[in-house]
């Protein structure tokens, strides 16, 4: 659009009011009027003489039926509006009621669903907890069974070893007694040089501390060697079979004693001195 100024608006004010501007002229004209209050006042003043032109027409009487038509049309419009109004309200109120009831029902339904889901969730949680407990119990039972099986296997192994050892003519044994760290503990170690086989049976051993295990130490003239590690059962009974006795002795001289100590799990060449069992003072029948 071409912008026009106030002067041009005032020059063309009458032409605008009697409809003498074409479309291309009217658009920027009206755009200017939207933005300029002074020019709107000018146009308002120009409208009156323009409209007065209509008073110059010769007066004619419209047909009497025209008034009846106009009146009837206005009445119809009124009736339509009136009919629309009462129909609109009940329909809207009914729609709103249905909507509110529907929303309330939907909300209640959702709430019930949520509560149901919550109950189900709680139930599933309880079931899961119960199942978890059952699984834990089963696991404990399995562990216990495994321990018992291990203990039984060890027991059988030690029984086999003892049978082999005690039937040998060079069988020897030594009794180990508890130290101050385990005064109730006691043990017996039997061995046979001919079979190169030894067996330790201990009882009343204290519970192991976390990350530790028991070691049987063979004490030689020139050092100590771990003959093996073992874990006692729940009753404090421990068993260990020692094989290849000659191999342990290599380079350390004569066997002079035995000891059982609690040691950290892992490789170690020396015991920690937390001795719980050691061989009793020589009683003659013990021939280490």
């Amino acid at each position: 659009l071409t912008r026009i100024d106030c002067e041009r608006v005032r020059e063309s004010a009458y032409a605008y009011c009697i409809g003498a501007l074409d479309h291309e002229e009217s658009r920027p004209f009206e755009q200017h009027l939207l933005e300029c209050e002074d020019c709107r006042d000018v146009i308002d003043r120009a409208r009156e003489p323009a409209a007065a032109l209509a008073l110059s027409v010769p007066l004619r009487h419209a047909s009497p039926s025209l008034k009846a038509r106009v009146r009837a049309s206005a009445g119809v419009l009124t009736d339509i509006r009136r009919r629309r109004t009462p129909r609109w309200w009940p329909a809207s109120v009914a729609a709103m009621f249905v909507l509110v009831v529907g929303l309330a029902g939907w909300g209640t339904y959702l709430q019930v669903q949520v509560e149901d889901l919550r109950d189900r969730n709680t139930s599933i949680g309880d079931d899961a907890t119960a199942t978890s407990r059952e699984l834990a119990d089963v696991k404990d039972q399995l562990v216990r069974s495994s321990q018992e099986a291990t203990g039984l296997r060890n027991s059988l192994t030690i029984q086999d070893a003892l049978l082999q050892i005690v039937t040998q003519p060079d069988v020897a044994n030594v009794e180990l007694i508890g130290t101050g760290a385990a005064p109730e503990a006691s043990a017996r170690y039997v061995w046979s040089e001919n079979e190169q086989l030894g067996a330790l049976t201990a009882r009343n051993l204290p519970d192991l501390e976390n990350g530790t295990t028991y070691h049987l130490w063979l004490v030689y003239e020139n050092g100590e060697v771990s003959a093996g590690a073992f874990v006692p059962d729940r009753d404090g009974r421990g068993r260990l079979v020692v094989q290849d006795l000659e191999g342990w002795r290599y380079g350390y001289g004569s066997l002079v004693g035995f000891a059982v100590s609690m040691e950290p799990i892992g490789p170690g060449t020396e015991h920690t001195r937390l001795v719980v069992l050691e061989n009793a003072p020589s009683r003659g029948d013990a021939t280490p």
Binding site: I18, L21, A51, L53, P58, H61, K67, V70, A74, G75
Partner: protein, 198 residues
């Protein structure tokens, strides 16, 4: 309520409250004038009646479109009637162009009141003072200014169309319209001043 005693603005106020009595009163007051304007522009009684019906139903449906601050009700009503009539005339004119283009003489005779254009005697008193003042103002206008104004107002022609139709420069037509309307306004204001003095 005696609606005949109410002013135009009071009747329009009642119209906003859907008062059919006020609507009847407005039609009784201005129905024939609106019809006469429409008939002047379109020249067909049936079309003029349809236009009159449209104009009054618009007033009935949208009375809030009249803004009291922008002028008198009669000024607004006659503007609506004239514009609606011009729209119909232009629409009718487009249809006519496919059949036979009216001559300049026909259009000029159409917009100029002839000597036989007399008021219906039963309506002679309607706005008689105002109408007399306007006619008096038009009579004193130079014929070329009067012709340009009437071709625009009742014929629906733009300044450029008037210039083309009459074979006059566009600037001349613009000047004639501006000066003629200025004289119209001066004449009406002078009459109003005389009324105040009386």
């Amino acid at each position: 309520v005696d609606y005949t005693t109410l002013s135009d603005d009071e009747l329009m106020e009642r119209l906003c409250s859907r008062d059919l009595g006020a609507f009847d009163a407005l039609y009784d007051r201005y129905g024939d004038l609106v019809y006469s304007v429409a008939l002047k522009v379109v020249g067909d009684t049936y079309v003029a009646e349809d236009i009159t019906q449209d104009v009054f139903l618009r007033v009935w449906r949208r009375p809030e479109q009249f803004d009291l601050r922008r002028g008198k009700f009669i000024t607004w009503l006659l503007s609506v009637a004239r514009n609606r009539s011009i729209d119909e005339r232009r629409s009718h004119g487009r249809r006519l162009r496919h059949e036979a283009l009216p001559s300049v003489a026909e259009e000029e005779s159409d917009v100029f009141p002839s000597g036989s254009d007399l008021d219906d005697p039963a309506l002679a008193t309607l706005l008689s003072d105002d109408r007399a003042a306007v006619r008096k103002a038009l009579e004193v206008l130079p014929p070329e200014q009067k012709l340009a104004i009437q071709l625009a107002y009742f014929g629906g022609l733009t300044q450029q169309e008037i210039a083309n139709r009459l074979g006059h420069p566009l600037g001349t037509v613009k000047t004639r319209i501006r000066l003629g309307m200025q004289k119209m306004r001066d004449a009406l204001e002078e009459r109003r001043a005389e009324e105040r003095r009386i």
